[in-house]
């Protein structure tokens, strides 16, 4: 009995930033198969995981989402070689629960474990160890791509390398990834030997990064973006290595402790509240250096402890602005940007600085490049926030930098083109003609 397999026009929040509700049809997939021919050609498709992209790169307004959250079966796990093959909707949370007790860890991980493997590859996500191991695309061995013409393409560095490169960081536009095979990294214990160093200024961050990148696998810096002008870029520099002491065991993380059940009716994170919070958080650490063992959960995923923390920003939602600018001559533009943000007073609690290493990206549209990246949350205050972004865009553009599509909800087509120019022409050859996204239409039309 043929069944109509799509539900019409559900209006809802589709992305993490909660900036607007987007209306799209959804097809919930339970098996890694989909008959594109059974659907008329007027609708475009976009694979959708669990909606942790911040802007509209995971939205397909007025069209159809292929919801992959139920493609969550493991396919094979080689415990000796540390190779895991799993369906594309498997989350990093699931992966960690499976592999950590067996002495393996993700090769690299973003700041949340609540993303799907398919989403991680489609955005070529990076982590605190980018300077050592690059982004996740470097550790993907293979995946299968289902195209809208029904063709299944096995992609790896050896087989169909051009499809492989287009799909890593390809924002889900080259087809539906059905499964992914990932090379894991071995660990002796699941604890992290971590150090937190209080920094006074952006310059100190640069020095510390330079020094730490040799001896620490993971480095990142939380910054107080509301700090006074003389302390631009002050923050807490965190660095760590996987602990080599077997005695620490291979314990797995717990479920989130608390949950934000409802969207706040207003934005409780007002300017004075945030400023006070950031100041307290910064000064809470009295001594310059604090060392100790941490769980991987608190080191990599501090925000995962609060379920639905995005609801904290209230009804209007929030933006995240993340860019990278080349390392050479990064100081002036970075200080200019930090100065503009500090002067505007629009920043928020979450601000992260990181130095990317010199790695060759596997993906055509991969975001990371050698340089300094800054990611910052901004409560949505309408036009005033957008005006600030436009000022920041100018600095990023002049410095030869680019923005991260996974975080973006508003960059102009010009800015996108200038950031990804070298690969765009090549990428378009591999984009599936029946796939599209709200983001893609916004930056290319």
């Amino acid at each position: 009995m043929p069944k109509e397999n799509s539900t019409d026009g559900t209006l809802g929040y589709r992305s993490w930033g909660r900036l607007k509700k987007s209306k799209s049809s959804e097809v919930r997939l339970y098996w890694p198969e989909f008959d594109f021919r059974a659907h008329d050609g007027s609708q475009s498709f976009l694979p959708y995981g669990i909606g942790r992209s911040y802007g509209d790169s995971c939205e397909n307004e007025g069209n159809t989402l292929l919801c992959c959250a139920n493609l969550k079966r493991f396919i094979a796990f080689d415990n000796v070689a540390g190779v895991l093959r799993a369906e594309a909707g498997v989350t990093l949370d699931q992966v960690l629960r499976l592999v950590v007790p067996r002495g393996w860890f993700l090769p690299t991980t973003p700041g949340t474990k609540f993303v799907t493997l398919g989403g991680a590859v489609a955005n070529d996500v990076h982590g605190k160890n980018h300077h050592r191991v690059g982004s996740i695309g470097e550790h993907v061995k293979k995946f299968e791509l289902l195209r809208s013409n029904g063709e299944r393409i096995l992609c790896s560095r050896e087989s169909n390398p051009d499809w492989f490169a287009a799909t890593i960081g390809g924002l889900g536009l080259t087809g539906l990834m059905t499964w992914v095979e990932l090379q894991l990294r071995p660990i002796v214990s699941s604890a992290i030997e971590a150090e937190t160093i209080k920094t006074q200024h952006f310059d100190e961050f640069l020095e510390l990064s330079k020094e730490s990148d040799k001896t620490f696998e993971h480095t990142v810096c939380w910054i107080d973006c509301l700090s006074p002008r003389r302390n631009l870029g002050r923050g807490l520099f965190m660095r760590g290595n996987h602990c080599a002491d077997k005695g620490q065991g291979l314990g797995v993380h717990n479920d989130p402790r608390v949950n934000v059940p409802l969207s706040m009716p207003f934005n409780p994170l007002s300017k004075p509240a945030l400023k006070a919070f950031n100041t307290v958080y910064y000064h809470k650490q009295r001594s310059r250096v604090v060392k100790g063992l941490q769980t991987y959960d608190s080191f990599f995923y501090p925000l995962d402890g609060v379920g639905n923390w995005n609801r904290m920003y209230g009804k209007r939602g929030f933006f995240q602005y993340q860019f990278v600018i080349p390392f050479a001559n990064c100081r002036e533009p970075m200080l200019e940007i930090l100065g503009k943000i500090s002067a505007s007073g629009f920043g928020s609690f979450l601000g992260v600085l990181k130095v990317f290493g010199n790695r060759e990206n596997r993906g055509l549209l991969s975001f990371p490049r050698e340089g300094v990246t800054l990611a910052l949350d901004f409560p949505n205050k309408g036009q005033a926030t957008l005006n600030l972004f436009e000022q920041l865009d100018q600095v990023v553009l002049a410095a030869g930098g680019r923005l991260y599509p996974a975080k973006d909800a508003r960059m102009s087509p010009e800015l996108f083109r200038s950031g990804y120019e070298a690969a765009l022409g090549q990428f378009e050859k591999f984009k599936d003609p029946r796939f599209s996204s709200s983001f893609w239409r916004r930056v290319t039309d």
Binding site: M1, E4, R28, W31, I75
Partner: protein
């Protein structure tokens, strides 16, 4: 404890149940229609726990003889099953059933005939060994026939009545019968329905079922609030019920 045999093992709910039992070191026998999907489920469970034995058997749920043979086969093993869970089913709309005789037959065959037949065969086989539990997934749709899906609901109501009698007949034979009445769940069977806040996750329902099994319950609603909803709906006068269009 002997292995657990699950019928309709590739259903979304059955996968969630199997995941829980495999993680708890229980051996499983998975019976389903598609060999390919059974293999996918078995591979997943083997990744979760490489120590447990997972066997797969493909069967046609419209062939009672074949189903009986499956039961005979699994109970002929040295270690007989200790529990049978019946999860298979098909959700055909009233429109489909009433306009197509084949669909009408399929609805009754899969949702009632094969389910009821299997439940008795499993219960008797367990009684002949060391006893155990038969778990059958029905639906809140069986509590009162709705205008939009009474063909489906009626098969579930029939299974409920059948299980009441079966439970009584096995009461002194160390076999307990658990009827599970889930509300609407987010599964492959309901993929064509719009997402609603009442939709429960299969993981939540699987957890409730395992709790029900461990506590020796006879009948459970899951999530629990369906018991209240259905009690209310059952009390509506017929004249009012006729106005309820969903």
């Amino acid at each position: 404890m002997g292995p657990i045999v699950i019928f309709g093992a590739t259903s979304t709910l059955a996968q969630a149940i199997a995941e829980r039992y495999a993680s708890a070191d229980c051996s499983l026998i998975l019976v389903g229609r598609s060999r390919e999907k059974l293999a996918a489920v078995a591979n997943h469970l083997a990744c979760l726990n490489s120590k447990v034995s997972i066997e797969t058997i493909s069967a046609d749920f419209e062939n009672l003889t074949a189903l009986r043979e499956v039961v005979e086969r699994v109970f002929a093993k040295p270690e007989a099953p200790s529990m049978g869970i019946i999860c298979h089913g098909v959700l055909l709309s009233n429109a489909e059933c009433l306009s197509d005789e084949k669909a009408f037959m399929e609805n009754a065959m899969v949702n009632f005939t094969s389910t009821a037949y299997l439940a008795e065969k499993l219960g008797t086989a367990l009684a002949n060994k060391a006893g155990g539990t038969v778990v059958v997934v029905t639906s809140v749709a069986g509590d009162r026939g709705r205008q939009s899906n009474f063909c489906y609901g009626a098969t579930k109501a029939a299974v409920s009545a059948y299980l009441d009698g079966l439970r009584a007949s096995l009461a002194d034979k160390k076999v307990s019968v658990l009827e599970v009445k889930p509300g609407v769940m987010d599964t492959a069977m309901t993929a064509h329905l719009p997402h609603s806040p009442l939709m429960a996750s299969p993981e939540k329902v699987a957890g409730d079922i395992i709790k029900g099994i461990n506590r020796g319950k006879r009948r459970i609603y899951t999530p629990w609030f369906w018991k209240i909803i259905m009690t209310g709906l059952k009390m509506l006068p017929d004249a009012v019920w006729a106005k309820v269009k969903f």
